[in-house]
């Protein structure tokens, strides 16, 4: 398979853990970085930052609305706040504050949601964030990022600290395979092509990138050449990469651990409709909430696996005129 890097897909760290570790490194480089958390620092790994920089860590208690707006005040006064909680709580409970104190005045707040998607497993739907990208993308001026692995997370967190403007970074609870080369370069708004291909393009973010790579391997054995793009910047999407994929492969599958009708898929579809119409298929959480089970059981039950991505790719290729 003509790939840029060799895919052994070894299991790496959870993206939340990579976030917590990188935050400490970023904090050493820039004393203006501060962190707010809402009684979940052991789970979000911001406890690592709190341990090294106790004066720059603000425990907000279980009060996410207050936490987000405190972040806005810190940013207005020149700090670079990373505001962290489970993605569902940061986005849903903090949304109005994200709208009025962060997006609208364009304050330099970095929101990091952990435990996103259904792969948190046993805790169940009240803790699962399957609409966080829809909410984050509804905030004008936000850059919205969904790293696939520890390599991407490390690069993205460092870049976010240097980027001026509001950012949402979506991370997960489960350990995930490493899909990126350790020296990969990440530029906001630029997708990364992980597998070259000519018959169909598989676009994914987060843990679905590894599934897309596995699907591409299956498809290759069947004689279907699938391109794989890690669209880690969900907003703004890489319109140029989408246009090229549509023009060159004439079929696109978007796969994501998010509600299928309000995540990356619809954003890619908008670009496709505007730039270069082509056949599209979508893999994601259908119009429902999940349940308690192991992460693997849930990803399988709700169709977020390589087999389903490959099936969608076959449908797309067969529909292609």
């Amino acid at each position: 398979m003509p790939t840029k890097t060799k895919y052994e897909l070894r299991l790496g760290a959870a993206t939340r853990e990579a976030f917590g570790k990188t935050l400490v490194e970023a904090g050493r480089e820039n004393k203006d970085i501060v962190v707010c958390d809402a009684d979940l620092s052991k789970s979000t790994y911001t406890n690592l930052f709190a341990k090294e920089f106790p004066d720059r860590f603000f425990e907000c208690g279980i009060a996410e609305a207050n936490m987000v707006a405190i972040g806005a005040g810190l940013a207005s006064a020149g700090k670079i706040p990373f505001v962290s909680s489970f993605s569902c709580f940061a986005m849903n409970k903090g949304f109005e504050q994200l709208r009025v104190t962060v997006a609208y005045p364009h304050t330099n707040v970095k929101v990091v949601g952990t435990h996103s998607g259904i792969s948190i497993g046993e805790d169940g739907p009240s803790q699962m964030s399957i609409e966080d990208l829809a909410l984050a993308c509804a905030l004008p001026g936000f850059t919205v990022l969904s790293p696939a692995d520890e390599v991407a997370t490390t690069a993205i967190v460092k870049a976010a600290a240097k980027h001026h403007g509001p950012v949402f970074i979506r991370t997960g609870r489960a350990k995930v395979p490493v899909v990126h080369a350790s020296d990969e370069q990440f530029t906001f708004g630029k997708a990364i092509e992980l597998v070259e291909g000519t018959d169909v393009t598989l676009i994914a973010h987060g843990l679905m990138v590894a599934e897309a790579i596995r699907a591409a391997e299956t498809l290759e054995a069947e004689g279907i050449s699938a391109r794989v793009l890690d669209m880690f910047t969900v907003k703004p999407v890489d319109r140029d990469a989408i246009r090229r994929a549509a023009a060159e492969t004439r079929a696109i599958v978007v796969a994501e651990e998010h509600l299928v009708d309000s995540g990356l898929g619809v954003r890619v579809a908008q670009a496709v409709a505007e730039l270069q119409p082509c056949v599209m298929e979508f893999v994601g959480v259908e119009n429902t909430y999940a349940e308690s089970a192991t992460p693997d059981q849930l990803l399988r039950k709700y169709g977020l696996v390589a087999d389903k991505v490959a099936e969608a790719a076959r449908r797309a290729v067969s529909r292609r005129r």
């Binding site: 603000f58 609305a65 936490m67 707006a69 005040g73 810190l74 020149g78 109005e96 104190t101 005045p105």
Partner: protein, 275 residues
């Protein structure tokens, strides 16, 4: 700008600000006169006496921060900033309030007036934003203090009490919350909508050094702000009893004037009364 601690001089500014408020809102044909007029002495005492700020250098790092969390009272903030001489709040444009292209947006908006400390309007959020600013000042070792003006109706928002818990727990003693307790909100009297009493006791229970005063008594406000500045280890809350529509007899204590503009005839009467 000329700052002053002289009460008569501050009262003279208050009269000019009250005239601006009723004129602006009449010209706009919409807006919130009642809650703007109730906060005049609080805002004038802050910007012309107590707060350290420099209109010729609005982003001076050592400045104090004043946040009007009850953003619907924007006219009082705009008038006081114009009177203070901020370059992005020209006095001659006050009557463009709420019109297309005006910097005087319906609620304060930092995109239009960069000198503002915060965009407000969705109630309940200003105290949290102010706490963030106060924490930053403390981290940097800056002397900046933060003043947040809250509405009484606004105090029904849960986030106010999240912020109140945070402020005392984290010993944020460089912040002052001032409640413009004019007893009226959109749908009627606060006591009939969602009573806040005992309000001062609530702030005390949340760990704030709490003062109660007549929010139109400039000398009392000056004394309270001085006491807040001298208070270490906890934040200060000032429950300022005020009169909605203060200074215009037919607006005073009248829920009708929470959110409607005076007519031209009412404006004439109002200006006569304000003097």
């Amino acid at each position: 700008m000329q700052k002053t601690s002289n009460v008569a001089e501050l009262q003279a500014i208050c009269r000019r600000v009250r005239r601006d408020i009723v004129e602006m809102i009449t010209a706009a044909k919409s807006g919130h006169p009642g809650g703007s007029l109730s906060a005049v002495e609080i805002m004038v005492t802050l910007l012309f006496d107590v707060a350290r700020h420099d209109p010729s250098n609005p982003k001076w790092a050592g400045r104090d921060h004043v946040i009007l969390s009850k953003g619907h009272a924007a006219p009082v903030l705009y008038s006081v900033m114009a009177e203070a001489g901020y370059p992005d709040t020209p006095k001659h444009e006050l009557n463009t309030l709420r019109k297309l292209g005006s910097m005087y947006q319906g609620h304060p908006d930092v995109r239009f007036i960069p000198s503002l400390e915060a965009s407000t309007g969705s109630l309940g959020q200003g105290l949290s934003v102010g706490l963030g600013m106060a924490l930053a000042a403390r981290l940097d070792g800056r002397p900046s203090r933060t003043f947040v003006i809250l509405g009484d109706g606004e105090s029904q928002e849960g986030q106010i009490w999240e912020a109140a818990m945070f402020g005392s727990y984290h010993k944020v003693d460089n912040i002052v919350a001032i409640v413009d307790y004019n007893k009226i909100q959109l749908d009627g009297f606060v006591k009939d909508i969602m009573d806040l009493e005992p309000l001062a006791a609530k702030w005390r229970a949340f760990g704030w050094h709490t003062l109660e005063l007549d929010g139109h008594d400039i000398a009392a406000l000056q004394a309270a702000f001085a006491e807040a500045a001298a208070t270490r280890g906890r934040p200060t809350a000032i429950v300022a009893h005020t009169v909605k529509g203060k200074g215009v007899s037919f607006m005073e204590n009248n829920p009708k004037y929470h959110g409607i503009a005076p007519t031209d005839k009412e404006l004439e009467l109002a200006l006569q009364e304000i003097g």
